[in-house]
Amino acid sequence: MKIKKEELIERLRELSRSGYNYLVKITAVDYIDHLEVIYFIRNMQNKKEENVRLDLKNGESLPTVIEIYKSADYYERELSEMFGIAIEGRDVKRLLIEKWDGLEAPLRKNFQWGSEYKSG
């Protein structure tokens, strides 16, 4: 389901109360003009899944959901490192690599890398 950024916390809290208590993954897709953030959540009782999607403008920040899903910790850190999305409401440390040699957000489409690594 597609929601707005402001509704995120509210909707996720609602869902987690109604049984969607397991966070499978948080990921994002870079569509160059905007980012889409997707929360995959699952109901552990009846094994139903729900995707919560929201669009982010470039440079916009994302509220943390760590109070609802404890497992969001690493995913949010990964998101902020890989896509350069700032996370509101918590202190986000670098997860994988302390410094990318001036290059930020490696999974963004504008990430520059040597042409010799491209193939095919």
Binding site: V29, D30, M44, K47, S71, Y74, L96
Partner: protein, 363 residues
Amino acid sequence: MLTRINVGPIHPSTHGVLRLVVTLDGDTIVDVEPHIGFLHRGVEKLAENRMYMQSESYMEKIDYVAPMAYSDLYVAAVEEAMGIHPKERAKYVRLILLEFQRIASHLLWLGAFCNDLGQIFTMFMWTMKDRDLILNLLQDVTGSRMFYVNMRLGGVSIDLPPNFEEHANKLLDYLEKRFKDYETFLEKNPVFIERTKDVGILKREDAIALGVTGPVLRASGVNFDVRRDYAYYVYEKLHFIPQVQTKGDSFARYKVRMREMKESIKLIRDALKLMPEGDALGMPIKLISPPVKESEVIVRRELPRGEGMIFMVTDKQRPYRLAIRAPSFINLSALRYIAKGARYADLFSILGSLDLVMADVDR
């Protein structure tokens, strides 16, 4: 007084390159902070720059203990994107090979786990021998010992050799006998019981909240297995029972994996009986891949370490975005909560029982 110890990145029981900053109060752990990223290779980005079938061998290197499981996950995602359904026999062939891969992976874990508990490589060498026999069998099928690259769209690259069934049954009989020996060797050892029972307890609610997967989740009493709940291939035709323990300690995690290996033996036996004759070969590799039908795919597979998921946004010849949910990654994030309050020596019992592959964590 608190002491901070830096464990790793080069340490005998961090299984690769994991750095833990451990804060100790006497012998009790106050906090564990994992520092990861030493093995980061950016597989997701690499896949964005390669054609669909080129990335398969990269996917295998995500989890070098069970490579075939990952290549199957990736190829299944590509198949779904292109609307290709695997052939009937290919489903059986894949299932058999994947279950063999699962046994091999769990065997390596068992040996490494005993090492973490302080054994001098005895169990490790025993399980390595058994794993080697499985790898020899897989080598006969695929042509390589570790990185198989044998999944193709709609099937496998090489069909099972004619004498495969006989070899496999012989190997399974041998493995069944060995598992009994291992159970006596470990469970009759009071020191092993002492080191694993009531160590690193992860309760059911915490397990769900922390999002752990696979054997770790099942050891905490959550009856969830992708092989049953999102049945793929022919798992629903075979009598498959997910192994669940309720205690949630290191011993329960050991027990789940031990039982899973036995369950896999049963699965392979059933599959070998039911396997239809015919053709299991998939499409050969071409310079141009078939047209993509779906714009977004979500594929789940039960990898040996837990639930693996691929979310792929497709483009014409290559993925636009490939997101991999790595089971070790999320299991590692639970370490901090499990290890709190444990003894320093138990940190490695817990770490070992989570079955981490650092390449899988860092991707």
